[in-house]
């Protein structure tokens, strides 16, 4: 199976970018004149899980969406600074944001499978990204993606059923399968389990750890225990009096949750914030 070669894909295959999958440098994000996120510099390591935590309104989701230019779906959104992905600044004028999103996929808080069959949910994404293989190759792709999302055993006998017929947790895993079917380098997850029951949540967390063997994951979560359970690194964002979010502290998750360096971080994770 081959994908149509695009500029980013070519650059990725030739550039290992060291230990980092993606790096933000002095990144500021605006909605119109409103500064939502202020001068963030952040290095995300490859095949690790990085959690972004912080109080409501501090720009966590805005920061996450900046990694694949999803903020630009808001007409007034714009950014300054750089986001370097395999040696390319994805905010360069000649970079197509749609192409960026093929390599940096996203899973959202509310599961949003297409109103199609389970099979088509996976196949459709591959097809519009230039899949040119045979039917049996597509079958293999679908199975591989569903296996990778730990959903195959539960749906293998009903691939022609609607994706919407699945439970919430299964739908979210279907969305993950859909994302990994096009083999992104990075998966962004915006509170992927917050709409799910506790058991489904734990399954998603275990899946994330499994996925991290092959993908880089950045996850926004309000659930600190979840961040502590799943992530290797944690970035704590907060906001100043100007309501602009900024990165207060970044470090290994063990250290952030047992002995943070900043008092504000300590106050937040011990639940004494504000």
């Amino acid at each position: 199976m081959t994908y149509q070669t695009q500029q980013i894909h070519q650059d990725i295959s030739g550039n290992t970018n060291g230990k980092n999958a993606i790096v933000a440098k002095d990144l500021s994000i605006y909605y119109g004149d409103f500064l939502a996120v202020k001068k963030v510099s952040l290095e995300i390591q490859k095949q690790k899980i990085t959690a972004i935590i912080g109080p409501s309104g501090c720009g966590k989701s805005t920061m996450l969406r900046a990694f694949n230019r999803m903020n630009e779906l808001v007409p007034t959104a714009h950014a300054t600074g750089e986001v370097i992905f395999y040696g390319i600044n994805i905010y360069d004028q000649n970079i197509d944001p749609v192409e960026v999103r093929r390599h940096i996929g996203m899973v959202f808080q509310k599961p949003n499978p297409f109103p199609k069959t389970i099979y088509e949910n996976i196949a459709w994404g591959a097809q519009i990204n230039g899949f040119k293989g045979s039917k049996s190759e597509m079958d293999n792709l679908v199975e591989e993606a569903l296996v990778g999302a730990a959903l195959w055993e539960e749906v293998k006998d009903k691939l022609d059923q609607s994706g919407l017929s699945l439970s919430g947790g299964q739908q979210q895993r279907l969305c993950i399968a859909r994302t990994i079917a096009i083999k992104p380098a990075i998966i962004l997850m915006d509170e992927p389990a917050s709409a799910l029951d506790p058991l489904a949540t734990l399954k998603i967390e275990e899946l994330m750890k499994e996925l991290a063997k092959n993908y880089t994951i950045i996850v926004v979560t309000h659930n600190m225990q979840q961040a502590a359970r799943v992530s290797d690194y944690t970035a704590f964002f907060t906001m100043g009096d100007d309501r602009a979010g900024f990165l207060m502290e970044f470090g290994e998750t063990n250290q952030i949750f047992t002995n943070p360096k900043q008092k504000v971080t300590e106050d937040y994770i011990t639940g004494r914030f504000g």
Binding site: M224, Q225, A228, F257, T258, N259, I269, T270, G271
Partner: protein
């Protein structure tokens, strides 16, 4: 309505547990003091009571351990709260072991039966006084999160070690002079050893205070004398 403390339950529970640590500390301080006094006075009845009283110390240990585990499960403490709970679990174990030392001294008194002490007790009560005083202050430091005091108290362990070495040399001399004193001298040596170990455990409590406040795990260095021992024996 006044402002809500979002960790009211956790904070209140932690304070209650810390108060109970002081209670448990008092129990073992009293037990050590009483065990040495009863040894000095050869009061076997008192020693029996101390021996049986250790069950209350053990009960307190389990009760506090249970409360800590429940808090960890239900409150998901992080950072300093988590270090505090982890340290409390260590400290109550140290106190339980010190309680065992008191029980051990009481047992020694009973084992000696009606035989007289091989010599009047002078340094052993001094060791006990010193170790009890260290423990009392160490627990105060732990509850208050007083790192300065926690760094100072372990230095006093050297005094206890010095007294122990003195007791050891003296009792060995007795044993060499008169082999019929070996059993009784050994009993006193065990009693002194228990008190020496008690002071070591107080040092551990101080280490936990520093860890709880700063996140730094450290062990207080051995004295130069102890390190010289390796040089001499190689």
């Amino acid at each position: 309505m006044s402002a809500i403390n979002p960790r009211e339950t956790l904070d209140r529970s932690l304070k209650e547990i810390l108060d109970e640590i002081l209670v448990m500390g008092s129990m073992v301080e009293e037990a050590v003091k009483a065990s040495v006094n009863s040894l000095k006075a050869r009061d076997l009845d008192a020693s029996r009571k101390i021996y049986l009283g250790d069950q209350e110390v053990n009960k307190k240990h389990f009760e506090l351990e249970n409360r800590c585990i429940t808090l960890i499960a239900t409150q998901q403490p992080m950072a300093k709260d988590l270090r505090l709970l982890a340290s409390i679990l260590e400290v109550i174990t140290e106190l339980e072991r010190i309680g065992d030392y008191a029980k051990g001294i009481a047992r020694i008194n009973v084992l000696m039966g009606t035989e007289p002490l091989v010599k009047p007790l002078i340094d052993i009560p001094r060791m006990a006084d010193k170790a009890i005083n260290m423990l009392h202050r160490a627990l105060g430091s732990f509850v208050a999160g007083d790192v300065e005091s926690a760094r100072e108290i372990p230095k006093e362990d050297d005094e206890v070690d010095y007294l122990y070495n003195q007791v050891y040399r003296e009792l060995v001399t007795y044993m060499m002079d008169d082999t019929s004193t070996i059993d009784r001298a050994n009993y006193l040596l065990w009693a002194a050893h228990n008190l020496e170990r008690m002071a070591d455990r107080v040092t551990n409590i101080c280490e936990r205070t520093i860890y709880m406040v700063t996140g730094e795990m450290l062990e207080f260095d051995h004295t130069d004398d102890e390190l010289d021992m390796f040089e001499r024996n190689l």
